[in-house]
Amino acid sequence: MKKRVFEYILGGQVLAKSSFTRHWRFILYIFALVILYISIHFGIRNTMQRMTRNEETLRNMRSEYMGKYNRLLHTGKRGEIEQLLERNSLDLQSPETPPARVRMEDR
């Protein structure tokens, strides 16, 4: 009896039974749902991985930006500019009068 049940399932005869043929659409629907669930799950995981990588990229870009910005700020110091002028033997002197704003008509 046990052997016959085993054969019945493994041999595939069970699929030919009326209960299966009657509900095959529903079984297919359940399978579709399971596949959809698995797909969404992996989709979410991929998105989260991408988010994590993007956050890392953003941090790295911030690091790069701040590094360059800091070097430019340091180079823009008056003392640094005066040293550069001196090193390059440029005979530019510090101003003796303040700068003035020039007003022009809007075009």
Partner: protein
């Protein structure tokens, strides 16, 4: 036949099934082994973990928003020399060394080649690459260099990620910005506002994916990290750099100097635009190390004569014209010998000349004559002028200011005289500057401050800003007198070196001997000096006030404020003057007509109803310190002219051009009965200005 075939199929299927069953059993036994027999068990901790989310520490910003201290991700580079194959090494080392020399720029390619070769020869597996940590941009370049581009296991490059507090301007304002270590010890803004800068840690549960990446578990409880607030300070980078550069250069001119400070304050608000604190290091150079500016209280010397002069004029003890005898420059009082710098003394002079020449003898005589009967009145006056007021600065470390008072154990017969020329009290340079700033600001004393606001993503979340210590430290007439005296010091007195035709400086020099263990001179004749200069500029419409103080070590030489501190003040003022476009009116391009200035009504110059500073004008008339004024002109961008009105009893004053409120106030205070017609400003008045008219006389105004 059919049965045989079915049996054969079943038999084949059975073997396939058996094979899967065996494989399954092996897999299950493997799992059992890993779970129960292997020592290094895989636990949920290997797949799930609680991750602490580190917040980004807030930045400290200059007044224009540029960063003074900022936290950025950085990468430490190490090198495992043993993993590199010989052929890879010989092919790539030259290019690698050239690349490192180009990126770091601190030494030549051959020096890098030698360094790496030595490390390889010594079998170094953790050799530091470069003199500093690198940012991501530099890391990308370094990871693309020969040898290193092969990765950690073939090229040997080990990258360790971390975070670093960076000061883009180097040591600029180092003492003010400060620092804080892992256990919460430190200095400056970093320490005082650590609780706002550090932010709040977050937490989340993460799990490991097949790609060995950790991603957050959906739905698990989590709290995000909250980044620290940014702090926008009052520091102006250009002014700060000018202060540090000029102070350092001056200190380097003599080995005797131990340190110094320079502070620059914005007159109307009290905002500290620059603050330099230089302290001599062991190698003889100077660096921002010690808080002289407001953490070091000493006897100020002659810069305090301004307070003495103000008190005596305010209490009507003297005027600027009061004559005082400086004698031969030496005077004995209360058991001490008071001397002047000038050998032979100054003889007879006015109080203003005594101030300009900074005569100790004259000030000791004037103060003892003025308050000899009641020294407490003088002390009380100094307190009223908020000279030793606790400033409640927004950075920790303020030193205590103290005035010796009658009743104190240390009070002696000479104490009052000493107070007259800046001894017998201890104040910080910040206290002195705050006092001078009040004089520059029309008598209104502003609290010095360093923090403009706290920001999040560039938007202020809490504004700190200016606050008033005292609305008026003295009367208007006293203020006019002391401002005249301060200008006189630069024009005729000890600070002539600061006289400049381009813009006017007003200030006072100070030279004080510093007491060590209660003595101003040790047994070998060595003295310590404090040379200072405090003042403001431009004198007629002050924008900045500044103090410079230099401290010497033991010396037998003389170090005067006029020769050592005043030049630093002048050079700092010059740099500020030549770098700001707001000193002069704008230049109009060809074909442009300057706009008319707003028409300003005559009236009380410093009343709230005359906010000239708020008006959209290219340049402004100077009205600070003036009373009733008449204002004319201002067309086509020209500067309106301001004339002070003389108000005399019994003479009808000129109210033309005034609004009705001012005209009524002035005329009715003079005792006249006023009638008026029309609206606008006073066009005509009857009787005319200058007419003699008794109290109760009738004045008719026509407004238009």
């Amino acid at each position: 036949m059919e049965d045989n075939s079915t049996n054969r199929i079943f038999l084949r299927f059975f073997f396939v099934y058996l094979a899967f069953l065996v494989l399954g059993a092996i897999a299950v036994s493997g799992i059992m082994k890993e779970q129960f027999l292997t020592k290094d068990k895989i636990t949920t901790d290997d797949i799930y973990k609680e991750q602490v989310l580190e917040p980004t520490r807030g930045s400290i910003l200059a007044c224009d928003g540029s960063p003074l201290a900022v936290s950025i991700p950085v990468y430490e580079l190490r090198w495992d020399s043993k993993v590199v194959a010989d052929t890879t090494w010989s092919k790539g080392i030259d290019s690698l060394a050239r690349g490192l020399a180009r990126i770091f720029g601190n030494k030549s390619a051959s020096a890098y080649r030698t360094e790496l070769a030595n490390a390889r020869k010594a079998g170094n597996r953790y050799k530091q690459i470069g003199p500093r940590n690198v940012d991501f941009g530099e890391l990308e370049m370094i990871e693309n260099l020969p040898i290193f581009r092969l990765g950690q296991f073939k090229g040997g490059l080990i990258v360790i990620k971390g975070s670093e507090r960076v000061n883009p301007y180097g040591t600029l304002a180092n003492r003010t910005i400060g620092s804080v270590n892992a256990v919460g010890e430190g200095t400056g803004i970093e320490l005082t506002y650590d609780y706002r800068l550090r932010g709040k840690k977050g937490m989340q549960t993460v799990h490991r994916t097949l790609g060995n990446e950790w991603i957050p578990v959906n739905g698990a409880p989590s709290s995000p990290a909250v980044d620290g607030d940014d702090i926008r300070t009052t520091i102006d980078v250009r002014i700060q750099e000018a202060a540090e550069t000029e102070l350092r250069n001056q200190l380097a001119m003599s080995d005797v100097f131990e340190g110094g400070t320079a502070i620059i304050m914005d007159v109307p608000t009290g905002a500290i635009r620059g603050i330099a604190n230089m302290y001599k290091r062991r190698d003889g150079t100077f660096d921002e190390k010690y808080n002289y500016a407001f953490g070091h209280a000493t006897e100020p010397g002659s810069t305090l004569k301004l307070a003495s002069l103000m008190a005596m004029i305010e209490d009507r003890c003297i005027t600027l014209e009061t004559e005082v005898d400086g004698g031969d420059g030496e005077w004995h009082y209360g058991g001490i010998r008071i001397t002047d710098t000038h050998r032979g003394g100054y003889g007879k002079m006015t109080a203003q000349e005594a101030f300009e020449k900074s005569s100790n003898v004259a000030f000791a005589k004037m103060i003892t004559e003025s308050y000899g009967d009641d020294p407490a009145a003088y002390i009380s006056r100094l307190h009223n002028m908020k000279l030793v007021e606790k400033l409640n600065l927004d950075i920790d470390g303020e030193a205590y200011a103290y005035i010796l008072s009658p009743g104190d154990a240390a009070w002696s017969n000479s104490s009052l005289a000493s107070l007259g020329y800046g001894y017998a009290l201890t104040v910080t340079p910040m206290h002195i500057l705050t006092f001078y700033n009040a004089v520059a600001n029309g008598g209104k004393m502003m609290r010095p401050y360093f923090i403009e606001d706290f920001e999040r993503d560039g938007t202020p979340v809490q504004v700190a800003g200016p606050s008033v210590v005292s609305g008026s430290i003295c009367s208007r007439s006293t203020l006019n007198d002391v401002r005249k005296a301060l200008r006189g010091v630069v024009e005729n007195g000890t600070a002539k070196i600061c006289n400049d035709p381009r813009y006017a400086i007003a200030g006072k020099t100070g030279t004080a001997r510093v007491a060590v263990n209660g003595r101003y001179e040790d047994e070998h004749g060595y003295r310590r000096y404090q040379a200072s200069f405090a003042g403001y500029f431009p004198a007629d419409d002050p924008k900045y006030s500044c103090i410079v103080v230099l401290y010497t070590g033991p010396t037998k030489g003389n170090f005067y404020g006029a020769t050592w501190a005043a030049p630093v003040f002048k050079r700092i003022a010059d740099k500020i003057y030549t770098s700001h476009p707001d000193w002069n009116p704008p230049v109009y391009a060809n074909g442009m007509t300057p706009p008319d200035n707003p028409s300003i009504a005559s009236g009380m110059a410093e009343s709230e109803a005359m906010p000239i500073d708020q008006m959209p004008m290219a340049s402004r008339p100077h009205v600070k310190g003036k009373g009733w004024v008449r204002i004319d002109g201002g067309e086509k961008g020209e500067l309106p002219t301001v004339t002070s009105l003389e108000i005399e009893k019994g003479i009808v004053p000129d109210v033309s051009g005034m609004g009705l409120k001012d005209a009524l106030y002035l005329l009715e205070n003079e005792g006249y009965k006023v009638t008026f017609s029309g609206t606008g400003r006073v066009r005509t008045q009857n009787p005319q200005a200058g007419t003699v008219l008794g109290k109760g006389g009738k004045v008719t105004l026509t407004l238009k």
